[in-house]
């Protein structure tokens, strides 16, 4: 039931982005990946979700290897991500954004669609209801008909979350869900993440906001220079000398 990352290595030309990265994401947990800029957090996300091929190492979910699969195939196995920079379907209504996220829940095939089978109308209205429920959950029900790109930044991030939830994730990877948000908005997002976990979804997130990370995580993984430097409960990580050094730099040694 675990998402397991083993000996992951990624290189861009001569630059090592990840080296020997190994960690497990326990089912039902909220796990955070932290680290200074360039530590390899987003790279790890890109590899896990199939957007980047690793130079070495393996990723398995419930014992089944994911390495080498396309992102859509990985999503089909229940591993769904969001992106660091706001990523919605800009010219579609908020509802259509979520309906697109519901792609895997639909079953209509090409010939069935052309034949205009009556079953499909029932399926469509079921999907619209699912979309409404998801929008209700993230608090965007009132924005249903608006175009995604017309929404303020914070709400676009919520649309993004709604799209990911629509894909019915078993493991949800959130790349800086709180980035650029106000304190109040971050609190809303933290609350949503907890609720998502309560529904049995495992959450893995990359986040810079330490208050948010320490407040909601069960486990924190600290990366620096492409390596895991510490892993453990939030309090232990906060006190970990290597983590402090990574963020603040090494204390000046004796001259």
């Amino acid at each position: 039931m675990t998402l397991a990352v083993r000996d992951l290595a990624v290189r861009f030309g001569g630059v090592t982005a990840l080296e020997a990265v190994t960690f497990d994401v326990r089912p039902g947990s909220i796990t955070s990946v932290i680290g200074p800029n360039g530590a390899g957090k987003t790279t790890a996300f890109n590899v896990i979700t199939g957007y980047l091929r690793p130079a070495g190492g393996r990723i398995t979910y419930e014992g089944v290897p994911l390495t080498g699969l396309r992102p859509s195939a990985i999503a089909r196995r229940g591993i769904v991500r969001t992106f660091q920079r706001t990523s919605v379907f800009p010219a579609l209504s908020v509802e259509d954004n979520v309906l697109t996220g519901l792609h895997l829940r639909g079953t209509a095939g090409f010939l069935e669609v052309l034949a205009g089978r009556r079953r499909l109308a029932a399926e469509e209205s079921g999907l619209v209801m699912d979309a409404a429920a998801i929008l209700e959950f993230v608090g965007l029900a009132h924005r249903r008909r608006e175009m995604a790109r017309a929404l303020p930044y914070g709400e676009q991030r919520l649309v993004e979350l709604a799209i990911a939830l629509a894909a019915r994730p078993r493991v949800l990877l959130l790349d800086e869900p709180g980035a650029g948000m106000t304190g109040a908005e971050k609190a809303v997002v933290s609350g949503l993440i907890r609720k998502i976990r309560e529904q049995g979804v495992t959450v893995l997130l990359v986040e810079h906001d330490m208050r948010m990370v320490m407040g909601i995580s069960d486990t924190v993984i600290a990366l620096n220079g492409g390596r895991v430097i510490a892993e453990g409960a939030p309090a232990a990580i906060q006190a970990h000398p290597d983590v402090i050094r990574a963020y603040l730099g090494a204390p000046r040694g004796p001259a």
Binding site: A75, V88, T100, G116
Partner: protein, 311 residues
């Protein structure tokens, strides 16, 4: 309003041969119809998946040649040849879709242009089959239950049926999860992948349907003009389709049809009104004005106006 408008439009289209007195006007209507099918076909790719096929005339030409050759040399019935034209053009669409697997934007455009270039060269040089630049004269007129559809009125209804079918295919696809997958590819491909949309699969599907539809247009064209030559692969055909889709409103269902009617009727009207040089100038000026003032196309502009009235 939309529903009533739709019925009114359908009634007008069905009774058009009664209103149009001259064979010439009917000819323009038939050509507008054939281009309507082509514009609908291009719009499926350009408007919904966001990929510009600048080799669309290739699928049109493949349809025309397939249908002409099978009826001329194979003595197939028109209907069987029509089906084969759709199938073969669709297969060509599949090939182009697979070739451009990971290619988007300019690279996709280049693949489609190159494909059209190659096919055009084949039509000129494979003389035993295609009769080369001389073309294939005497393509038979279609028959239905022993009735010849040689008359313009009959052919008009055949084309009208083809438009209705193409429109229905587009409408059903677009309003389904398949259409949403097409649009997702246009709007944000990485995001589409992240929620399980197999983007390549849907791009290939759109290419196959689009190319098959263009093949339908090609077959209709061949049996209407009764003559097919390498001219069917001309780049101008593709450009005309693009102009129709963009001016009418890409990514809308009605836009390509509006564009097809406008840009078939307009050059003919200009031909009656002005000398050749002025025709091209007026055509160009109108196109620039359209792009300037209605950058998203006629249909979206009308929809926006209506929306403003409603609120």
């Amino acid at each position: 309003m939309t529903r009533a408008g739709g019925w009114l439009l359908a009634a007008a289209a069905l009774t058009l041969p009664l209103w149009l007195s001259s064979a010439y006007h009917l000819h323009v209507a038939i050509m507008a119809g054939i281009f309507g099918v082509l514009a609908l076909s291009l719009n499926l790719l350009l408007g919904f998946t966001g990929q510009l096929s600048l080799g669309h005339a290739a699928f049109f030409g493949i349809g025309a040649y397939t249908s002409a050759l099978l009826t001329l040399k194979g003595a197939w019935s028109f209907w069987a040849a029509l089906a084969a034209a759709v199938a073969l053009a669709g297969a060509a669409g599949w090939l182009v879709g697979r070739l451009s697997l990971k290619l988007r934007g300019a690279y996709f455009v280049l693949v489609t242009i190159s494909f059209a270039g190659v096919i055009s060269l084949v039509s000129v040089n494979w003389i035993e089959l295609t009769n080369g630049p001389l073309g294939l004269p005497g393509v038979p007129a279609p028959e239905l239950f022993g009735w010849s559809l040689r008359s313009k009125t009959a052919y008009y209804y055949l084309v009208l049926a083809a438009i209705a079918l193409s429109y229905l295919v587009c409408a059903r696809l677009v309003k389904s999860r398949i259409g949403r997958a097409f649009v997702a590819l246009r709007e944000n491909e990485p995001l589409a992948e992240s929620v399980g949309v197999d983007v390549t699969h849907y791009l290939v599907l759109a290419a196959v349907v689009s190319a098959g539809m263009a093949g339908l247009g090609g077959s209709l064209y061949a049996h209407y003009t009764r003559f097919v030559s390498p001219e069917v692969f001309l780049f101008t055909y593709t450009v005309t389709m693009v102009v129709m889709v963009v001016a009418g409103g890409k990514g809308t269902l009605a836009g390509p049809l509006v564009g097809a009617v406008l840009f078939t009727v307009l050059p003919e009207a200009l031909r009656a009104a002005a000398s050749w040089q002025w025709q091209m100038l007026a055509y160009g000026v109108l196109l620039v004005l359209l792009v300037f003032f209605l950058p998203r196309g006629i249909v979206p502009a009308v929809q926006a106006l209506r929306g403003r009235d409603a609120s």
